[in-house]
């Protein structure tokens, strides 16, 4: 298990300063979220934790060791679902296991169990273009879970879904996470989604991206989206984002 520490990380692309002194910790087993407007550098933070990008200044570390490269214990689910169009659902889900050289039989059992878990039983042999948007996102969540990662990094996983599917998927994500002991970091620009799902919410402001506030939410689950404490939190976050009237 690992604790992720983003330590005064600054990221520049050429002269463009995207992140400035971003500093936060991800504790083991917690469900955290980053909310912020589009373009504030949320994906960049996630990519650094995944090992796909590196901070220009500061460090991003897992258990005090700087993150140099991707590792299967930290799996990123991309903003766009990114299933391989030439692989069927089961082959997509099995991809990471295949890379690790897991025996076919074991792989098959694991994939079937996961597909059942995310509600895609019976779609094993479908290609991504034959699935709905929600099903694709389910498949890519299943693919990440197949790795049994310690840290799950989700980049606006439900951003492209309709409101109904979105709520269903949020509940399913909670169900998958609860009791799993996995650390989850969810990126979203949907404030309600962050409050509904996460225990720790980091609010980011744009250009350059800084964390303006970290909010710990103690609202008991299942959370009522119209409950008083929920509404209160929403207002608080909106104030930090300069969105309150």
């Amino acid at each position: 298990m690992q604790t992720i520490h983003v330590d005064h990380a600054t990221k520049r692309f050429g002269s463009l300063e995207v992140l400035k002194q971003v500093d936060f910790r991800l504790e083991q087993g917690e469900f955290a979220a980053i909310v912020g407007p589009s373009g504030c550098g949320k994906s960049t933070v996630l990519r650094m934790i995944a090992g796909l990008d590196h901070p220009t200044e500061g460090t991003v570390s897992a258990n005090q060791k700087p993150i140099e490269a991707p590792h299967p214990s930290r799996v990123l689910i991309f903003q766009e679902h990114a299933l391989y169009p030439w692989r069927t659902v089961e082959k997509n889900v099995a991809f990471g296991l295949e890379l690790a050289g897991m025996p076919k039989k074991e792989c098959q059992n694991r994939v079937d169990a996961l597909l059942k878990k995310v509600g895609l039983s019976g779609f094993q042999s479908y290609y991504p273009h034959q699935l709905s948007g929600g099903m694709r996102q389910r498949a890519s969540i299943a693919r990440a879970l197949a790795m049994d990662p310690e840290v799950l990094l989700l980049d606006e996983p439900f951003g492209a879904l309709d409101a109904i599917t979105k709520i269903t998927m949020q509940n399913e994500l909670l169900r998958l996470w609860e009791g799993s002991g996995k650390t989850v970091l969810l990126i979203t620009h949907d404030i309600d989604e962050a409050i509904y799902l996460a225990d720790t919410i980091h609010v980011m402001s744009p250009r350059p991206g800084v964390i303006v506030e970290t909010i710990r939410s103690e609202v008991p689950r299942p959370r009522n989206r119209n409950g008083a404490d929920f509404v209160h939190l929403r207002e608080k976050i909106m104030t930090h984002l300069d969105l309150a009237k």
Binding site: A50, G51, L52, A69, P70, H71, P72, R74, V75, L76, F78, E80, A82, Y84, P85, W86, R87, T88, F95, G96, E98, L99, A100, F123, Q124, S125, Y126, Y127, H129, Q130, R143, M147
Partner: protein, 279 residues
């Protein structure tokens, strides 16, 4: 030879994945038949006005063609041309695809490959014939080498372009899931370049066939379709020349339509499944 082509066409028509409706089949073939028909019609009309030794009638040439199926000199020629194609073309495809893939992961090699291709592209393939005749002698080795030179680069170029344009997220995803360099190559770059591979294979096939016939004609071999047609030309046997042209065109068209189409549907199967997943 007519046997091989007809058997390959019937086997692909009876394979379960490629079974278009009768209407669409007709729609697909009608323009093709029209094209062939109009060419033959132009020929026949011209033949009405010209003496037979300059331009023989269409039926006469077909009669001669069927007669020549017993002529060993002609059928051996077809056989050796096809044999050379069967060696040269796949070698060129594999070689070209491998180079293109490697160029996809090595920037320096990509630059090198592009320069190499632009040089080779500037030299007409048959200019290599005298060179290789001296080096390797007349016959198969020379012709096959020329085929490979002529047809590896469309494939290399096509695959190279595809690997350079490979979806970045697809690559990063594989890295996140633990892929090493070799796995990136085989599990992302290669399948992602398959459509380009198919396009490359189609262009390469045209190059291979044309350079094969040309190389045989300019004297790379003393047997083969190209050689036969030149020889018939030298003795002013117009029927023989036209018959060779017919066969050369037909073989290329049949291989292109049947074999390459089959290859495409087989390699890009995921694009053609419409309902209910793969079988």
């Amino acid at each position: 030879m007519s046997q091989t082509s007809s058997s390959s066409s019937s086997s692909s028509a009876s394979s379960p994945q490629v079974r278009p409706k009768a209407g669409s089949l007709w729609q697909k073939w009608l323009p093709y038949l029209a094209a062939v028909g109009s060419l033959l019609a132009i020929w026949q009309i011209a033949a009405f006005f010209l003496p037979a030794y300059l331009l023989p009638d269409v039926p006469d040439v077909f009669v001669r063609l069927f007669g020549s199926m017993n002529d060993a000199e002609f059928t051996d020629g077809i056989q050796s041309s096809l044999l050379r194609l069967a060696w040269g073309y796949p070698i060129a495809c594999l070689f070209g695809a491998a180079l293109g893939l490697i160029a996809g992961v090595s920037q320096a090699f990509a630059v090198y490959l592009r320069s190499l291709i632009s040089i080779l592209q500037a030299i007409p393939p048959i200019t290599w014939v005298p060179f290789f005749v001296i080096l390797l002698g007349f016959g198969n080795a020379t012709i096959i080498t020329v085929i490979v030179i002529a047809s590896f680069f469309p494939m290399a170029l096509s695959v190279l372009n595809a690997t350079e344009g490979v979806n970045r997220t697809h690559l990063e995803l594989a890295r996140v899931l633990g892929a090493n360099k070799l796995q990136l190559l085989t599990k992302v770059f290669a399948p992602e370049s398959l459509p380009a591979f198919v396009t490359g294979a189609q262009v390469a096939f045209g190059n291979a066939w044309r350079s094969l016939i040309a190389a045989e004609m300019v004297g790379g071999a003393a047997i083969g379709l190209g050689y036969y047609s030149r020889w018939r030309g030298e003795v002013a046997d117009m029927e023989g020349v036209l018959m060779s042209i017919l066969v050369i065109g037909t073989i290329a068209a049949v291989l292109d339509l049947v074999l390459l189409e089959w290859l495409k549907r087989r390699l890009l199967r995921y694009r053609y499944v419409k309902t209910g997943g793969a079988e």
